[in-house]
Subunit: 140 residues, 2 copies
């Protein structure tokens, strides 16, 4: 028990070292690639957009807006642009009337969603624990 947990901690430290060791933490945040990429990919709305696109093969603007409940036109279109620029999603416009635009995950986006899902799965599984902690903490 003890040693397994200890080993895991050592592995964690090594991973962090490998990732951030060569980066000076005093650099401006936008020079840290992890901070930079994360600022797009783990933004609250972006995560929801990506998950819904992981669920449906393609979604159009207004459908997305329906599922990503609470998002505004402006923010949705902003986020879609950035996600497209970073290569997570693809935008296909059909010049019909009225115009039809379909959004879908790229292979790259798909691979990210798979990683992301491991995290959201953890959250799903552990949210009761978090709620319990929160309640305990609130008692004083």
């Amino acid at each position: 028990m003890e040693t397994i947990a200890e080993n895991q901690k050592v592995r964690t430290v090594k991973k962090i070292e490998k990732m951030f060791g060569h980066i000076d933490y005093k650099n401006p945040p936008e020079l840290c690639p992890v901070r930079d990429v994360m600022s797009v990919a783990s933004d609250q709305w972006s995560v929801l957009i990506l998950l819904w696109l992981g669920y449906f093969p393609v979604l159009r603007f207004n459908k997305l807006k329906k599922y990503v409940y609470g998002i505004s036109n402006k923010v949705l279109s902003q986020r879609l642009k950035v996600l497209e620029a970073d290569g997570y999603i693809e935008r296909k416009a059909y010049p019909e009337v009225p115009i039809r635009v379909e959004y879908s995950l790229t292979e790259f986006g798909q691979s990210y969603v798979e990683k992301l899902l491991e995290l959201t799965e953890w959250m799903h599984d552990n949210s009761p624990k978090v709620m319990a902690n929160r309640e305990k903490y609130g008692l004083f």
Copy 2:
């Protein structure tokens, strides 16, 4: 190739269904446990705090502020409170003068950091790809 990717997509859809299937997406966002837990645990500053606490066994306020470069007193103390309330970190105050306060990961926090690291590792490995995409996109 095709079938492996297809299988993976099917698995993704099933995971999402399992996680969100019983939740009405039209609920207010704070009623979705995943959104709720994520809003704390994947906040930009919180992630950095947790990673540094995964690297050092304990850290005091001012050390943390040094490593989590760019964070303000206010936000750091806010985030620490929330992370403590949710059970990720532990706060130990020693009534010396001047007071000493040590922050560290709980076992729960440690397990989260391990999950989180898989994601940041992905970002670390894929940030060149994202940069390349971004540049390509910027060219028109």
